[in-house]
Amino acid sequence: MTRRLQLMSGLIAATLVSAGAPAIAETLTVMTAGDQNMVDYVNEYLAPKFEADNPGVTVQAVGTGPGDAGSQMIYERLSASAGAGAQADVDVAVVHQKMAGQMVNEDLLASYRGDIDTGSLVSRETADNALGTNVHGYVMPMFHSQTAIAYNPALVESPPKTYDELVTWVKDHSGQFGYNGIKGGMSGVSFVMGWMYAFTDDAKQLMNGPFDASISSDWADALAKLKDFNQNVVFTPGNAGTLDMLNRGEIAMGPVWVDMFYTWQSDGRLSPDLKLALIGPGMPGQPMYYVVPASAPNKDMAEKFIAMATTPDVQAEGIVKRFNWYPGIDAQYVQSKLDPETWNKLFTDVTPDDLATKGKPFPIASYFDEILEAYEKNVTN
């Protein structure tokens, strides 16, 4: 009995002692939403580089999970610490567009883009506009991602080029197309958004605003068509679910994130024979942003880190070469740093022309929510 007591009190003492352990000085904390490759990117590439340039600094990365759920967790952490009047625990966060907009609206972020020299290297609208919220100065795009339809060439002789062609194909091949609806993953959501762009006349207003709730009455036809379309599809559990079913040959086509698609292929979870097609009039894509919390403990170092991560060299080597992502800063600065072969690998299935014409932004936040609500009310119910 005494032996057990000793063991237990030892354990209690050990844990209590370590409870008061202070954080290591000069640690830069990076919290990133998104897939594991985002965490790996920091751990395997950015962190060693930064630590080599700044001796005495350690970089630690924390992943919060894929999709908007991951960004939501970062937002909740920042909101909680701000609400309690405490300092944030995060120096650099990598979040999706929707959450970045919300964080700016709630004054959780610091404006830093003007302070770093790479800030001038990005001129795309996505650096200033996050789904309708003005985020100028608060964000730097890390990379741009795009959704497209992945298909199995063995089962799909001629892939559809537009949403209309897709509808016809799915009618003739029931059960061969899969997507995750609007729950569980953004690939399905982006498919639905693309559907709205294709089958309503409001595409421009959806993307740019202004917000006018009354136009949702125009959507009845498109939604009814979607409900009809859903009779012939298979529903997957999420982004990974769609890729999963493509992997096992249970579906022949489905919307996927281009970067996730390439990652799964290189990780051996997807057959190398599968291909991508970006269908017209367009499918959405979005950047992920580097942001700095307003009360970050090491703000200067955070800015230095982001500045390093958005230099053309790092974008070329890290973003494009290693991960097959479209760069965050303007393409021309990055292209000059790479050999043509690597650059063109980005565009094997989806050409720069495709991207320019059919790569669309998501609708502005208020329409985003409206469309999701309309889907829930009219398509699933």
Binding site: R4, M8, L11, I12, A14, T15, L16, S18, A19, G20, A21, A23, T29, M31, G34, D35, Q36, M38, V39, D40, N43, E44, A47, P48, Q60, V62, G63, T64, G65, P66, G70, M73, E76, R77, S79, A80, S81, G83, A84, A86, D89, V90, G238, N239, A240, G241, L243, D244, N247, R248, G249, W264, D267, G268, R269, L270, S271
Partner: protein, 270 residues
Amino acid sequence: MRLAEAWRWLPRAIVLALLFFVIFGPIANMLLWTVAEKWYFPHKLPLEYGFAYWQRVFAPRGGAIESLVNSAMIACGTVVLSLAMAVPAGYALARLRLPMRGLLMLVFLMPQAFPNLPVYINIARLFYGFGLNGTYVGVILVHTTHGLMYAVWIASAAFAALDRELEEAARNIGAGPVRTFLTISLPLAAPGILASAIFVFLESLDEFTGTFFVGAPVVKTLPLLLYTATAGGNYQIASITALILLVPSIAFMFVVERFIRADVLARVGR
């Protein structure tokens, strides 16, 4: 004689084989993924085997070993704290006639009865206010609020099922209430209480969300390290994580079993 024995074994063997398939089928799936480097349709088994993902998990920067040790230590701390509070509470709820006993029992169910997702933002704020964010004590406290459900309910059931005659006999020969508790009640209820320890340990070991909101980035546990990969469909890493977590879980189970004399594990109910 031998034939009759063999005959009797047939239904047993079939049921056991079926059970084996049902239990180990998914686990075999997991084991295959831990060593699969390439596996896609139409191949029924992995194309390429290898330990590349083990290297990824145990990359020096990742700190997988440190995280594993942290997870195990936090789990042990949670077990100790939960039991320390649950044993007296369970005894009181089972034996001493408390008013609103039902309500109190329901209170202990609450942390798991209300799905935690919307609550964590408020819990995080509270912990920031107390200065418990980023500390091991904070994380242990969060795990304990969940562990108390198992510990209190099972301890309460264990104490309630004790034979009161034994306790009364001890009191009749002059033992005080504390002595009776320590020498009669507690040892008899111990197997059930220690069974609950296993569940508290397992729950703490796998906990992600609470640990993230209260502990990250200072406190590094294995679920924190590998959650993103697991949730994102990286089967290789998910399976390796599960395999690694098996080690402290089974070790803890062995340790607990040694404290119990009976050769079948829990004696909840006596």
